[in-house]
Assembly symmetry: C2
Homo-oligomer: 453 residues x 2
Amino acid sequence: MDFEIANVEFTKEELIDFLLDIDESEIEEAIENIHPVDVLNALKETDEQTSQIILNKLPNEFIAMIIDEDDDENRYDFLIKFSENRQKDILSEMSSDEIADFIGQLDTEEKEEVLAKLSIEDKIEVHDLLQYDPETAGGIMATEFISIRENKTVYRTLEYLQIHAYDAEMAYYLYVIDKQNHLKGVVGLRNIVASSFDTLISEITNPNVVSINVNDDQENVAHVFSKYGYVMLPVVDDDNVIKGVVTVDDVMDIIKEESTEDIHRLAGLDEEEKVDGSLLDSLKSRLPWLSINLFSALLASSIVTHFSSTIQMVVALAAINPIIAGMGGNSGTQALTLMVRGIALGEINPKNAKKIFFKELGVGLFSGIIIGLLVGLGTHFFFGNFYLGLVAFLAMIGNMVVAVVAGYFVPLTLKKLNVDPALGSSIFVTTFTDCVGFFLFLSLATFFLPKLI
Amino acid sequence: MDFEIANVEFTKEELIDFLLDIDESEIEEAIENIHPVDVLNALKETDEQTSQIILNKLPNEFIAMIIDEDDDENRYDFLIKFSENRQKDILSEMSSDEIADFIGQLDTEEKEEVLAKLSIEDKIEVHDLLQYDPETAGGIMATEFISIRENKTVYRTLEYLQIHAYDAEMAYYLYVIDKQNHLKGVVGLRNIVASSFDTLISEITNPNVVSINVNDDQENVAHVFSKYGYVMLPVVDDDNVIKGVVTVDDVMDIIKEESTEDIHRLAGLDEEEKVDGSLLDSLKSRLPWLSINLFSALLASSIVTHFSSTIQMVVALAAINPIIAGMGGNSGTQALTLMVRGIALGEINPKNAKKIFFKELGVGLFSGIIIGLLVGLGTHFFFGNFYLGLVAFLAMIGNMVVAVVAGYFVPLTLKKLNVDPALGSSIFVTTFTDCVGFFLFLSLATFFLPKLI
């Protein structure tokens, strides 16, 4: 579906026509139930002039939401389409974390230019947020949340919310604080509406509030959310002073981002390459990895060259060689991928690591024997030489065992070195299996050479 | 962290000791702020006897939550640890979708046994839920939600919520329905608390409510949630009658599940293989894929055998051959992975598909030229033969172009055949690049043979 209003599906073209036709005085009500991301997608497929007419009609608040939905690299260009004054108005409609997100991607000059258009309070808040690493809780949190003191009644709190509920991102939870803004507890909106009007907030406050630290890595934040199924968590500094909140919609983006990163890195792609990106960006993303692969292939190839006199005598070796190396590579990639995903999902701990190692060793041994038997018997019958089959069988077992051991240790070692386990690990593992496969097979063949000729 | 109460970290052992020591009369209050998933994880590392002592103390509602957090395959065994009567009480604390989830995994006999322990209403609801495919909106929805009529005031609604708010999953939204349960609109809890007490629900109802159909695939449901950042959506049947709700915590699990599935399938692993699973399960997951790979390796190897007389004359070919095939494989895997992830994230549409094709073609051509030049020049200087370098150069370009074209078309074709694009696509692509690489290189070498000797 392109987008949908009251369960009727509209195309992007129909949305553009609708926005063009509508009178400026009616637009505010009309767009109330249209999502900014749909307008953004429709605008991207329209010509500049039509786009400008629609943007001029739309309220600043809606423009701010569209900018927030746009890709990082487009936001600045989108904003500067408007007059200086309108830019200021649009920025004033954005929350501090949205502005910080947006500004964080700009170069110094553009950053200064946008900062100059902010109100004093926004400037201070954005400046504070920019101090945090963008991949930590501080970097993704919003500073708009609702905090209350515990001596209020439910009735008074509802009156307060009737004024302030829209100041916050997803006001499903209210945070109870003391005079120094220390986080003391949490009250769900559900607890409030489920309590009689004269209930004191202190009676329904949960003092054992789970919080995340501003410096926690975003991947860990995502773990906590998905493990416990939270929709919102408060972010505190080292003194337990509440600084902001992280909401589940940001976490969903992180989960997707981190998965894409792993998938891309396992295949030797930059984490940021887009499927519909430019040719130049694709080449920049892929050529470095291909070059490293080439280096590893040359290394393996030099092993083959070393054995060229053996191959000249038994040319069948040239046909079987890639099977031994390739099957080892496949087996290593399986083990490695399972490890990388297991590490990413936090499923590997010191306790089960040993058990996993022995399981992998078993997998290498047994699949080596089974695949080795198939390859060995095939070789024996096809080339009519028992010893050639035996060499293939033994080399296959050896390479499969090396493959799973490499698949096990490479990601764990990278992790220990604080490098993403997905990064380059498949190149390490296949270099290993290529070199060891070629070497094992060809040196065994050289050893049995009298029997092979 | 193992788990955390009021920001103090506890180990699993400390949690077990805490639960052992505490008096049964105090346990209800004590566990209020401990998450069932933490208790579950701690119990898994305890002996049977200790575990039983703790389980006997815990309230039924908490046991029900623990069962819901456990892995599908363990739930039944966990439940039948208790007496018949206690099993009934525990089941009565679970929501209908939790029971349906749990029962859906059992064999017929076990299923009947559990169904017999349900109350009549639960039995009917569970029976209805079991009609839906578990991977659709109907299969993941909860049937506990709050619906209201629009002629109530905010004050009356709050009074109603004070009784019913805890009957529903995440009551952040209330659904406005007519007498036949048709979905008419939605009211956020935030709208309710932000409105004065005498406001009519009809004044704050959003009639343009986004909903999902019971038969929508769970992957599409996840798309809608993450695109728009929803926390909860109503599920309707074809007549727009509200059947249940899907909440964001279920969606997070789906996003992770679907990513794991893609990552596993790209590497030739069953989607369900666990990193800390058993040796037998691992072999069952990996051997079928390795066997298919073997078949494809034999195919490629037969091409090499076909050219054995050429190789016997120029043994250097045996060393260069795997480089041409392997680099093509890497390049194909890059293109393929980008396509598979792009399809999964819904980033590929008929409009940009053509542009992507020509970009990939360009990537294949340019990286073929660059990598081909490196390999060709290296070959030329190392083996001292210009024509051998030329053959490597041309074969590299040809194979790289074939690689990206295969990486582009294979996932799209699988998708069109309604097969998961990640499933087996890397085997297709590498079989292609191996065979084409070997064939191109060796037939070009045969053509230039007089110049190579």
